[in-house]
């Protein structure tokens, strides 16, 4: 029984993984164009550096700096809490891959 349950759970887990690989924006006050662009960037970065959140965050930050001007901040992680002050219209908080939370904001 337990094994079966375990198996089911695993199945469900993989299923969940498969399903939940799309980006899910939790909160954002960016305009449409910027939001999609940032989201795509986050996805690219996290797929590229799937085993290194730090480099992913670095890539996001640097690319954002290039695209939208300096002083961007990016956090990529599986679990963290935060309270940030950000410039209005420059915040994106999203989930990706079922286990990653990505926060990108601008504040100089």
């Amino acid at each position: 029984m337990e094994d079966q349950q375990e198996g089911k759970k695993e199945e469900k887990e993989t299923d969940y993984r498969r399903l939940q690989s799309y980006p899910l924006i939790r909160h954002s006050d960016m305009n449409e164009e910027m939001r999609t662009e940032t989201m795509e960037l986050c996805v690219t970065a996290c797929e590229k550096f799937s085993n290194n959140n730090e480099t992913a965050a670095k890539m996001i930050k640097e690319t954002m700096d290039k695209k939208f001007g300096a002083s961007w901040h990016a956090v990529v992680g599986e679990g963290y809490g935060f309270e940030i002050a950000h410039e209005v219209k420059n915040l994106l908080y999203m989930f990706f891959g079922g286990n990653l939370a990505i926060t990108v904001w601008k504040c100089s």
Partner: protein
């Protein structure tokens, strides 16, 4: 020095008069007699340097005293390049020939003095050798040279230094006084800044200047920082999982609703249509603003015309007896209606600045499209409404109570009703062959009073001899023949034996203003029939009015008995409908009269337009025989004026021509003069006064004519 001078003077004694030094290089034959030759050279030098020496000659003590005679004696001496000491005949043994032979070449060179120099070229072998030997760079030589120089200087400066002069090399170029102290440095003198090019330190000039310093200015500004907000959240696996699950649910719901929405696709497409409509609405909203702007621009462009329209009164009228003038104001034209004759003009009964113009062609052979245009005086450059038609439009009438309804008659015999408020270009109603369409061009349409059922109705007349009343019933246009025009000739027999009654060709009509049933019909034959709605095929009266087609009949606005007619036979006639024997007045205008119209402000004023491009304005009260204004208003010759209309409030008329232009004209004060009684006070206004005025005129005319008749 003195010993040297002696031979010099001596030489002067012997060869002072030699003209040796005269620019020519002395042909000195080198060594020869030592002293003498020296003297000559010296003398040469002396002459060369004469300019810088004092001229007083100092005689040496032992100078030979010579007499004047001796001094003046000239010695001639020829100097050659030959060495006088050289042997003239050198003989050498020639081994080849075994004899002594005289050599032809004798060496003439003599060396008197030679001195070894202490300078060597730095690129020469010797220099290189020295360099190698001393192992020093060029700077060594420099320092060495400096040393030598300073040494010289010291030796010349005085004895003290000479004493110490033994110590070589210590004299540095910069500090010549520190002689003794650094005695041993001579071996390795500090090279002054290696590799630096030696410059002449005395050859320089110094310049300095002070520039103006720009004043400093400080400027600062403080900007507001971009707005910020705080955001806080916690991210962990549970949260992420929950978020995704929530999203999944949403997606599933969305899928379900999509199925439902697919059914509503049709509705959506409908919505799109409405969206399109609202878009056009947006455009129309802009068009309203654009229209205002357009009118403003036009007002600016035609400012002078607008001023004339409102304020200009021809002052010269006071000096003319009774005659007046017409001042051309705006000219209306539309590109697409050019070359289409103006077939009718009609003022809007409600909006005094708006009028309708129809375009078509009067030429039977050249029938083309037509057009109904609405112009306003506020925008002379472009029509307000445009209704293009396939057939030429021959006439138009605006409903007096519903000015947005236009009745129009076409060359193809149909009649139509347009509604200006609708944005469609197609007519609201149109008669077809089935619904009683005329078979010939419709020459006039006129709205009538609403019938008993309050249905709108209008009447039309055509060359096919029918006068038809049209009624607008809901979606239909129903017709009733009011009268059939016939000729009182005997019916002719057709080819198949049927009786064919020849038909009259109606060209115009006008309903009496007070008596509803009474109306006049003008025909192409030149007759005017007085008809009643009550009789379908009979005329109350017939006037043999004109010799050619009657173009217009019109009841007087004030007097109920009087009407006017015009014709192609060049005449305008005024009639009393109760008096059939002849016209009250006849005016010959010298050309085909296209249209005539009573003025709305006076019972005695009317205007006519003729084919020679003239407007004729009459006031019977002023002159019963001649027009008080006869004015050509067309630009080009051969332009025929076709129609005329008085504005009901403004003192202007519009005339249309056969080239598609409509010209507005302002009537000068004389043309709209209110008659004054003898005291100068204005007569009472009103229809009664107008009727009385007309009656007075008629009585003048009628009596003699009546008498004639009696006679």
């Amino acid at each position: 020095m003195p010993p040297k001078a002696a031979p010099k003077q001596k030489a002067g004694g012997t060869g002072s008069n030699l003209k040796v030094g005269k620019g020519r290089a002395p042909r000195i034959n080198a060594p020869a007699k030592g002293k003498d030759d020296d003297a000559t050279t010296e003398a040469g030098d002396g002459v060369g340097e004469e300019w810088m020496q004092a001229k007083t000659l100092i005689k040496p003590d032992d100078q030979l005293e010579l007499t004047e005679q001796e001094l003046k004696e000239e010695f001639t001496r020829i100097l050659t390049a030959n060495n006088p000491h050289a042997p003239q005949n050198i003989v050498r043994y020639n081994f080849k020939e075994g004899t002594f032979k005289q050599t032809s070449h004798v060496d003439q060179l003599a060396i008197h003095f030679s001195l070894e120099g202490n300078m060597i070229h730095k690129d020469s072998d010797e220099a290189r050798r020295q360099k190698a030997k001393y192992g020093a760079s060029e700077s060594y030589y420099q320092s060495w040279m400096w040393k030598a120089l300073s040494e010289q200087a010291i030796s010349e400066s005085g004895e003290e230094k000479k004493d110490e002069g033994e110590v070589e090399g210590d004299a540095k170029p910069e500090e010549g006084e520190q002689d003794g102290e650094k005695g041993d440095d001579s071996a390795t003198p500090a090279p002054p800044k290696s590799d630096q090019k030696l410059t002449n330190q005395f050859n320089f000039s110094e310049r300095a200047s002070q520039t103006y310093n720009n004043p400093y200015r400080e400027r600062g500004s403080q900007t507001e920082p971009p707005p910020r907000a705080t955001f806080s959240s916690t991210a962990n696996q549970w949260e992420i999982y929950d978020a995704y699950m929530e999203d999944l649910e949403k997606q599933e719901k969305a899928k379900e609703s999509k199925k439902q929405t697919s059914r509503k696709d049709e509705e959506k497409s409908k919505k799109k249509l409405t969206a399109l409509e609202t878009q056009s609405d947006d455009l129309s909203r802009i068009s309203h603003a654009a229209k205002i702007i357009e009118r403003m621009v036009n007002q600016n462009t035609y400012d002078d015309v607008a001023q004339d329209f409102k304020y200009w009164e021809d002052v010269s009228d006071e000096y003319r007896d009774h005659e007046g003038t017409c001042l051309p104001l705006w000219k209306f034209s539309y590109d697409k209606a050019k070359r289409l004759a103006v077939t009718s003009v009609c003022w809007n009964p409600k909006y005094r600045d708006l009028f309708a113009v129809t375009h078509g062609s009067y030429d039977f052979m050249k029938q083309t499209r037509g057009m109904i245009l609405f112009y306003t005086l506020k925008n002379p450059s472009y029509p307000e409404y445009i209704y293009p038609t396939e057939s030429g439009v021959m006439c138009v009438d605006l409903h007096p109570e519903h000015p947005y309804l236009i009745a129009a008659g076409f060359y193809d015999g149909s009649v139509a009703v347009y509604n200006v408020t609708l944005k469609t270009l197609t007519p609201l109603y149109q008669s077809t062959a089935k619904t009683g369409k005329h078979t010939d061009p419709v020459w006039q349409v006129a709205w009538q009073k609403d019938d008993l059922d309050n249905n709108l109705n209008f009447t039309s007349i055509s060359s096919d001899g029918r006068v038809v009343a049209w009624t607008l019933v809901k979606n239909e246009l129903t017709f009733t023949d009011v009268i059939q025009l016939t000729l009182d000739e005997v019916p002719q027999e057709g080819p198949d034996g049927t009786q064919l009654a020849p038909l009259g060709c109606g060209t115009c009509f006008d309903f009496h203003k007070q008596t509803d049933h009474l109306f006049l019909v003008g025909t192409e034959e030149g007759k005017i029939h007085k008809c009643s709605k009550a009789y379908n095929s009979q005329f109350l009266d017939t006037f043999d009015a004109h010799h050619m087609a009657v173009y217009k009949v019109m009841w007087n606005h004030f007097h109920p008995k009087i009407f006017i007619s015009c014709s192609a036979d060049w005449t305008v006639k005024i009639w009393d409908h109760t008096y059939t024997n002849g016209p009250m007045f006849t005016f010959d205008l010298g050309s085909s009269v296209g249209d005539v119209a009573w003025a709305p402000y006076s019972s005695t004023v009317f205007a006519a337009v003729t084919a020679d491009g003239k407007v004729h304005v009459f006031d019977l009260n002023v002159n019963k025989y001649e027009p008080i204004c006869e004015q050509a208003v067309v630009q080009k010759k051969k332009t025929k004026l076709t129609h005329i209309a008085f504005n009901s409030t403004h003192p202007i008329i519009i005339v249309g021509d056969d080239r598609g232009y409509v010209t507005s004209l302002k009537l000068s004060p004389n043309l709209r003069k209110v008659p004054k009684d003898k005291k100068g006070a204005e007569l009472s206004k009103g229809p009664e006064a107008e009727i009385a005025k007309m009656d007075k005129l008629l009585s003048l005319v009628r009596e003699p004519s009546n008498k004639d008749e009696k006679n």
